[in-house]
């Protein structure tokens, strides 16, 4: 098998802020697109490295350089290949997720079968995806909410001094839509009760990661305020974290770039179900390649937040849709995405 990769800059439709870096406005992102070729068939995967988890484009490229010599000649031997990579690059979940996705895409294409079908799943069980409204000036937020009219589920990130005004602006444009809130670890003893009151007042469906990882006391306060379900994101990176989250959260947000790909995500889903937890599938800002890999598991999830590709102005791939919040698991072999022409 031959592995190659490229950096690819993709541009956002709207500049983007998150709670952790609210002073930074992001207009574009660079991702790594990896492809694995075997007998003329090519499988694609994507790495969206996260500096929060100590990853970079450069660190991911080091994984690809080493992986080229570790892949062997059998594309079906996914588990042993991934184990070799985990042994050497434990922290490089995003790059390993790209290889995991490319191997799944390749195997699906070699067999002529979509990955969701190889996993035995029912595409009709795919939940609707939420669509993220980025934090911005209030009038811009109102415009974004209007533009997102087709999306039945909205998500916002809180953590600015203007959270209440932001929630008001969203509710003006979308008074009844289910609204999911991602707090990105921003609630502390100083603001937790105020945030909980806001959540109740503006009617949220669930809250992601209200407090910092390990702050179970703050989390218990949120729960006592009646805010549920609580979904772990930064607290639940890989499969080893699921059971540690089980006593404190109601569910986990699995992202392939955090956990290392489809295989590990499946393990996390299985573990969460055994612990009676809800399952959410999330994403980074990434192209349809990365989103398609996560989408293969969507029929196993309760909630999906797979809108990364919908936020892009220049997604180089297409094939999984997302309009009206409907991700489509199509019948194309592998991950079901193709390069856009022109």
């Amino acid at each position: 098998m031959n592995l190659s990769w490229q950096r690819r800059e993709v541009h956002l439709r709207h500049p983007f802020n998150i709670a952790r870096t609210q002073r930074d406005t992001v207009t574009s992102r660079q991702v790594l697109l990896a492809s694995i070729e075997h007998r003329g068939v090519v499988g694609w995967g994507e790495s969206a490295p996260s500096s929060y988890y100590g990853q970079s484009l450069e660190s991911g490229e080091k994984v690809f350089e080493a992986a080229a010599g570790l892949l062997g000649s059998d594309p079906f031997a996914i588990v042993p290949v991934l184990e070799r990579l985990w042994e050497r690059f434990e922290a490089e979940s995003a790059a390993i997720a790209a290889i995991d996705a490319a191997l799944h895409d390749l195997v699906g294409k070699l067999l002529g079968v979509p990955v969701w079908k190889l996993l035995g799943l029912d595409p009709a069980r795919t939940p609707l995806t939420s669509f993220t409204i980025g934090i911005d000036d209030l009038e811009v937020i109102e415009r974004k909410v209007a533009e997102a009219a087709e999306y039945p589920l909205l998500k916002i990130k809180v953590g600015t001094p203007r959270d209440e005004q932001v929630l008001q602006a969203i509710r003006r444009g979308a008074p009844d839509k289910p609204l999911r809130v991602d707090a990105n670890c921003g609630w502390t003893s100083a603001n937790v009760m105020e945030m909980c009151r806001l959540m109740v007042r503006y009617g949220v469906e669930f809250v992601e990661q209200p407090t910092a990882p390990g702050d179970y006391q703050g989390l218990a306060e949120v729960r006592r305020a009646g805010i549920t379900p609580l979904i772990a994101d930064e607290s639940c990176v890989g499969y080893r974290d699921v059971l540690a989250c089980a006593p404190h959260f109601d569910g986990i947000n699995i992202k392939l770039s955090k956990c290392g790909g489809i295989r590990r995500a499946l393990q996390m889903i299985h573990t969460a179900r055994s612990a009676g937890m809800k399952v959410m599938l999330g994403c980074m800002v990434e192209t349809s390649v990365g989103i398609a890999a996560a989408a293969q598991l969507a029929p196993l999830a309760d909630y999906i937040d797979l809108d990364g590709h919908l936020l892009l102005a220049d997604d180089p791939f297409e094939g999984i849709g997302g309009q009206q919040g409907r991700i489509t698991l199509n019948d194309r072999p592998g991950l079901g995405v193709i390069e856009r022409r022109g």
Copy 2:
């Protein structure tokens, strides 16, 4: 898809006793062989119902009767088909395991790929299987141990008044072989310390299910006596039991007939790994069809006890070997078993 099934009587090479029913000598067993046909291709599965879990040949046949109308027309839709069966027949794990196996065999054959390969596994990781020496008169046990010379790992069931003599007889013939002990819930406060002393004296590799399900106090006594690892069998039936076992046992014995097939077994393996537990794959007395289904997951296990077919005088199928303790995951599509001729 068309489902059909048959009762099949298979005979043991040696009469067989287990701790729970030591007064009954078993010379043959009846199993259910199910086959699912789709466009001329046939997938096989086996049900080895257990009265201990409230199952019978009759109750399994009721599942098959209903399943014939629930299978639909897409053999790849394994998860939704199994969910429909679980909703109606929660207690019928053995029969559902047969359908799960038959669908996996069918999908593998339709794609021309072995199931272990569809699961991305490395067949070279398959552990050696243990071989069970049935409880019997001491001279018969000595003869069985001699006949089992080719098998590098032995397993015995304890729970008779002659346990020490049995262990002596085994150690006379196999002084150094790793020896696994299955207590089938037989240890109580009356005998637990004596049993622990025996385990130490005769050098056992691990003990399965020393005390009754729920008797965690007795289990703690076994652990305090230094007997580890402790493997849950009757305490760990399905995926819901794995995490309840985690604080008390070191590992779980997964049997497809208990948990309901390859899909649920994979969930249990994933859950056990997330909890840091060891994984063992076990079996009932069953033909190569049932053993082959479990064997597909063997590269994910620490220990395998997949000797059910080796104990038979008239296994109607072949293909997975087992001599010298080596189960062979072959390159045939599906489960890799074929009907014996003549």
